[in-house]
Each structure stands twice: as C-alpha cells, then as structure tokens.
C-alpha cells in the first residue's frame, strides 16, 4: 500500500490538496447550494478542481463528500440521495486521479452537536458516519476525518470507519487558539485530543481549518511533543473578504508558504491547505518539498 510506504519513508513529505469550497465559489457556486450535490449536478467542475490539485502536485486529493452524511444532508432534505451523491463523487475523482496518486475519502462533521449545545448523541453520529463510510469504502485509498470540533464526535467517526475499513486513517480536529492554548470549541484541549487519538487506531493525527498558517505552525510545535504518530496540517489562508460578489483571501500566498516550509521543518508529515487555499498554494508548497 503506497500510503503506508510514504509514512515509513522518513524523508518523505506528503503533499495533500487545498480547499474545495472556495474553488467552487470562484466557479460561481450559488448561495445555499450544497457542494456535495454538485457531484451529480456539475460533475465536470468537481473533476476539474480535483485535477487542478493533482496537476499542482497534490499526491492525494479528497473526495467531494465533506457533508455527505445522512445527518448533514437531512438539513437540506437530501438524505435520500446520499448513495447517489457518493457514487458520483467517487466517479468524479477517479476520472482524473493520476497513477501513483491517492484518493482520500473525506468525512466532515455532521453539523449536529451534543447537549447542551444541540441534541445529537454518539449513536446517531456513528450511524451517520457508518452510512458514509460504507458507500465510500470501495473507491478510496485512505480516509480523512476532518474539521471535527468535538472529540466525542471524532471518536464516533473513528469507530464507524474502523468497524468497516482497514485502510489508513487521518483524524483531524479543528482547534481555536485561546489564552490557555489550543482547544476545540467544545473545550477539549490539544493535549487531551492527541492523548486520546494516540490510543485510537488512527495512522496520522491532524489539524485543519479555523487556524491560519501562523497559528497552525504554533499548534504543530506543541503537537510534535505529544505524539509519535505522523502529523497532518491543513490550515486556512487567513480570513475571507467579500468585495462586490467576489470572495478574496487576504493573506499573501508567500506568507502561507513560508509557514508551510516551517511546518515541514518542524516535522509535519502531511501538508495541505483548507479554506482559501488554491492549486497555486499547493504548487508553491510543492516547490518547497521538491527543494528539500
């Protein structure tokens, strides 16, 4: 299995992809459209974005299935289409995946919180993630559970994946920076999250979204001392700004890429980007990796 070989190769830095959502906005994604539904309605755009990342140097790209859980789709009255959405998501990425590159099954949060914030529980999360995993399993090389802001939801997702699949798994939570360090919005510290994930059957521990590259670098420096597992980072490219009907990201690409360089120096095994990053970002990071 290619991915495991990459992990074993100490010198290897794995280049992940960048954002899907902001790339869709550039191509005119309308307000309120569920990005996952575009797998069916505008498959050529989804394939084009995947291809642009593979072309830019991404060695693995994620399926456009961030929100493809019954729980999340239910809010859009689309839960009956989960199978169709995921089938098409797999087709769209498979079409453009170059040989030697991997397809990552993307699993995002259900969007439902446990009490007292919301009404969800672990069994509901587990069942929702199970459905998604079963449908994706046949077409992916590995998994990325990402942007999860509750350690309990993460554990439900890991259990769902592990009960179905033996493929490698990256588990990425999303953290905010507080005066006392990095925490999920539900109050789990970076230390607690990593300690917990150390004991789970995950191959890589990650963090993505919420934080820009500068804060992510700081998080990585802390995380490095807490685990022997490989670490994956996918930071945001600063904050979005809307001018007219267009969205821009303020952070100059050089800043992001410089931080990415430091992240690699400080031991990040997998580097990519989240909201606001583009194939151009990935191409610049690729130059750094090739220069090492």
């Amino acid at each position: 299995m290619l991915f495991q070989d990459w992990l074993k190769d100490e010198a290897k830095i794995i280049l992940f992809d960048g954002a899907m959502g902001t790339e869709l906005i550039k191509r005119g994604l309308k307000p309120g459209k569920v990005p996952d539904l575009l797998n069916i309605e505008q498959p050529e755009i989804i394939s084009e974005i995947h291809k642009s990342y593979y072309d830019a140097g991404s060695e693995m790209c994620q399926t456009n299935t961030f929100g493809s859980t019954p729980m999340n789709l239910k809010r859009h009255n689309l839960e009956d289409r989960v199978e169709e959405i995921i089938e098409n998501a797999l087709k769209n990425i498979k079409k453009v995946r170059p040989s030697g590159c991997l397809i990552v099954g993307d699993i995002g949060p259900t969007g439902e919180f446990r009490p007292p914030v919301g009404k969800a529980n672990s069994e509901q999360w587990y069942s929702s993630f199970s459905t998604q995993t079963k449908l994706l399993e046949k077409g992916v090389d590995l998994w990325h559970i990402e942007t999860i802001s509750d350690l309990e939801e993460m554990l439900a997702a890991i259990k769902a994946v592990r009960d179905i699949s033996k493929k490698p798994l990256i588990a990425s939570l999303t953290y905010k920076k507080t005066k006392r360090g990095f925490f999920t919005i539900m109050g789990d510290s970076l230390e607690k999250c990593i300690e917990t994930l150390n004991n789970e059957k995950v191959d890589v521990i990650g963090a993505n979204c919420t934080l820009g590259s500068k804060d992510m670098l700081e998080l990585l420096k802390n995380a490095r001392n807490l685990t022997d597992k490989p670490i994956s980072v996918k930071p945001n490219a600063g904050q979005p700004i809307i001018k007219g009907d267009k969205t821009y990201y303020e952070q100059p690409i050089e800043n992001f890429v410089n931080d990415a360089r430091e992240m690699i120096e400080f031991g990040a095994k997998i580097v990519g980007g989240c909201c606001g990053t583009s194939p151009k970002t990935i191409m610049e990071i690729s130059k750094i990796i090739n220069g090492i």
């Binding site: 309308k30 914030v117 109050g187």
Partner: protein
C-alpha cells in the same frame, strides 16, 4: 442582600441549576425586589460566564448551559415581574441565519445570550429568506435585526436584508447587525450594517450599545 446576589451569581457560574432555581423561587416567595435580583444576581452570573468564555476558561457547553439555566430562571421570575407591572424587556431582536445557510448554532447561541440578558428574541431559525426576516421584524416591531451567515456564498444575503429595508424606506427603523465566521468590519461597512459581532458576548455588547442600554 449582596450575599444573596453573590450566591445567585455563583450558582450560575457553577452551572448549578438546582441552586439557581431554588434562589429564584426564594426571591419570588419572599417578595424580594425582582429586578434587582435579576440584575445583581442572575445577570452578574451570566456576565461572568461570558467573561470566562471569552478568556478561554469556559467553552461552548458551559456557555450554553449557563444561558439555559439563566433562561429557565428568568422564565420563573418574569411572570411575577409583569404582575407588579415592571417591564424587563430591554428591547426586541429578530434573529435568523440567512437563506441558503443551514448553520444555526452560532445564531442560536447569540439568541440564547440575548435572552439571558433580558432581550425579547424571535429566533426565526436557519435558511430564512430575506423577505421573511424583514416581514417578521416589522410584525414584531423589532429594534434590532440580527443576520447570521457562515458561508462566503451566503453572506451576500446579509446585504440583501439591508437593501430590502432601504427599498421599503425602513432602513432607519431598525438596527441591522451581522454575525458569522466570515463577517468582517469591511463587509459590515460595505453592507451599511450597524455593526457586527465576533461572538455571542460581543453581540450582547453591540446590541446594548446600539440601543444605549
């Protein structure tokens, strides 16, 4: 009395619903000055909860739990206030997540906190069309309209709310505030909104200042 107020505040900060409810009932049964009990006891407690959240000591579960306990106590106290014809409502807020956007959690937290601070809040939910937000604001004689958007794709709807108010010559009648992770000061200015808030506590502060409370 100050000691009683401190006990109430501590019960809220400790998220001890049983105690908080007990104190609310005690205040009612003993005919204590309820407005003062709310302001110096319960509101002091929820303000502290908000501070702890901003400082990163408390997180979403504590913030929500604190606001829920506060709300439950207010539900007990308010009927007695009206009985003695005291008015507690500091103003009316109509709040919604914009059409096309199903992210309701931030908006719900803001609504809960505003209620906890004594505002009358009409939470219209998520994915609410611009027209309906404006209609409801007129119907409920809102002082403030709060519009949340979590997606860069749906943020344009926030501006539409203000444009629709302008078209109807109603812009001066309401204060419009924006919220949601991608909202910035620049966007607020571009929309001609009256303000934006980074978080729920900030939103309470903003509404207070807009209504001079």
């Amino acid at each position: 009395m100050q000691e009683f107020y401190n006990d109430i505040s501590t019960a809220i900060v400790n998220l001890d619903e049983e105690k908080a409810v007990e104190y609310a009932n005690k205040a009612i049964n003993e005919n204590l000055p309820l407005l003062e009990v709310i302001e110096k006891g319960f509101a002091a407690g929820i303000r502290k909860v908000g501070e702890l959240w901003e400082e990163g000591e408390f997180f979403l579960p504590e913030l929500m739990r604190g606001a829920q306990i506060m709300q439950n106590c207010l539900d007990l106290l308010i009927p007695h206030l009206e009985h003695i014809s005291e008015k507690i409502s500091r103003g009316t807020v109509v709040i919604a997540t914009i059409e096309g956007d199903i992210h309701s959690i931030g908006k719900t937290i803001v609504g809960t906190m505003l209620r906890a601070y004594g505002y009358r809040v009409y939470d219209l939910g998520a994915d609410v069309p611009v027209e309906r937000i404006v209609e409801k604001a007129i119907e409920k004689e809102a002082d403030v309209i709060g519009v949340s958007a979590l997606l860069t794709t749906t943020m344009v709807g926030q501006r539409r709310v203000i444009e629709l108010l302008q078209e109807k010559n109603l812009a001066s009648k309401f204060k419009v505030i924006l919220g949601g992770a991608p909202v910035t000061k620049a966007w607020t200015e571009e929309c001609n909104a009256d303000g934006f808030a980074e978080n729920a506590i900030d939103a309470v502060r903003l509404v207070n200042s807009l209504l001079n409370k």
